[in-house]
């Protein structure tokens, strides 16, 4: 984990309401593991005391990129940051995805731009399996070609049917699971990122079918390093539950650990 002054290399509209920012981060970039995040100080947001956490989309020796949507004050202010500006980052933070288990068939499930947090996992996975991407409409489905280029079989669903099959991403997952009954459930391993409701639905399917599902959870954070105990979630224990820190113990948790 490091604190680094990074320089904006690229910043542009990616698609619709989604933007891509690429930062020169030669210290943090090479350290990023799939599923980890960075904590970014938004320039010129002077009366905001908190950083903003972002999943890492891509990372290499030069730096890293973030795919984000403008959803609040922080991301709105971020849109004005120009190429060449300095941005302070803490990272890489948190416990990301484990490697795909031996002899496991990986399945990705993403809601909207949640698939950005799955990209590095998709890249390093020795087996390229099936990726289910869901969103409200066509403009919320991102990076299909990028995942296909890595060798993944991408299946798209949208709420309004404007791209792919009409319905929820979990509908598509359910029909696929039904059709793959001959594949033993135990050989599947899911990796998911998206809205809370989708993560719970994916987790329920994993628990019901006896396979593992690694869920990237999203909670409001303050410190990002495990100190303030803002972003806690309930994790099951032998005797009940305990608070686990989304920023440090997560953001990735196995579905069976989470007490919803």
């Amino acid at each position: 984990m490091n604190q680094e002054k990074t320089i904006v290399l690229e910043h542009r509209c990616f698609q619709g309401n989604y933007r891509l920012i690429k930062l020169a981060a030669p210290t943090i970039g090479p350290l990023v593991q799939p599923g980890q995040f960075v904590h970014l100080r938004v320039p010129r947001l002077e009366n905001a005391v908190l950083r903003r956490p972002f999943s890492v989309f891509k990372a290499d020796d030069v730096g890293l990129s973030i795919l984000y949507a403008t959803v609040g004050l922080g991301t709105e202010a971020l849109t004005s940051v120009a190429v060449g500006e300095e941005v302070s980052l803490l990272g890489p933070l948190g416990t990301g995805f484990p490697g795909v288990g031996k002899d496991k068939f990986p399945v990705l499930v993403a809601g909207g731009y949640g698939n950005a947090a799955l990209y590095l996992q998709a890249k390093v996975s020795p087996v390229k399996g099936v990726a289910f991407f869901g969103g409200r409409s066509a403009q919320d489905i991102l990076c299909v070609d990028e995942f296909e280029a890595l060798g993944w079989d991408v299946r798209v669903t949208t709420d309004d049917g404007s791209l792919g099959a009409k319905g929820l991403v979990t509908d598509a997952l359910d029909s696929w699971l039904e059709g793959e009954k001959d594949v033993a459930s135990a050989s599947l391993e899911l990796f998911a990122c998206g809205p809370n409701g989708m993560l719970k639905a994916v987790g329920d399917r994993a628990l019901g079918n006896g396979f593992a599902a690694w869920l990237s959870m999203d909670r409001n954070m303050a410190c990002g390093v495990g100190a303030c105990l803002t972003c806690v979630i309930k994790r099951k224990t032998e005797t009940g539950w305990e608070w686990a820190r989304c920023c440090k113990d997560g953001p990735v948790f196995e579905a069976s650990e989470i007490l919803w």
Partner: protein, 305 residues
Amino acid sequence: MNIPDLKVKIGSIEMKNPVTVASGTFGYGPEYADYVDLDRLGAITVKGISAEPHVGNETPRTFETASGMLNAIGLPGPGANGFCEKYLPFFESYSVPLIVNVWGKTVEDYGRVAEILDGPARVNALEVNVSCPNVKEGGALYGTDVDLFRSVVDEVRSKTEKPIIIKLAPNVANIKLFAKAAEACGADGISIMNSYPAMGIDIETRKPQLANRTGGLSGPAIKPIAMKLVWEAAQVVDIPIIGMGGVSTPEDALEFIIAGASAVAVGTANFTDPSTAVRVIDGIERWLSAKNIASVDDLVGTVKT
């Protein structure tokens, strides 16, 4: 240019500079060790510990506001014995003085946690939290009723030989009363201030922004409130005051020192930038040096009123 003397003494603790971190913003120590050379700090003040483990509040626990944030974490923690087992070994490789913030639901609870922490040599002082706005039992009540306040300070004093620093509540009619009571009960120092009781509401859901409904406001928004309280308390006590509330820059720290604080704590600004405390230390040294002031002590309480 001279090299100014930054040393500060609070009871028997020798701080090599006047900057610590505010309890609750720095975890139990290890969390920030990758970002901050802990031994550069004057002292580390760790998150509130009670005699028994405590689970804390439901979420959401924090909410960002203009130049600050609300929190109602609710003092989750491993308990005094759990803290000693889990975190004290970490501090063996550091020389920085360790101040442990303690709290209780009853006067006896305060005594028990003080008694347990009186044992380990690595615990250098206790900061007594009589002012947490976010726990239903005890908490703020001990900080706002001067008789209850005295009973807590007396109890802690009777259970430990270590320096005790009393962290005062800001929401009292007369801070001088509490500052004097702390000194009279044998406290070695005073921390001013805890976060200010506050609230935020989501207009769409009409629900409070915090699960606990109300919380404590911290950050630059409260600095002028803390400044007045430090200035008032400094007029009536001789024991050192640790000033806190919105310290983000060396200038903020110097302002507190001029108001009457012997030391300061960096709180919410640790979240904004983990290197804040070290920048504040370096900035204080540079400023004193530029002004040819020999020691930080020479600046304490020099406000011209």
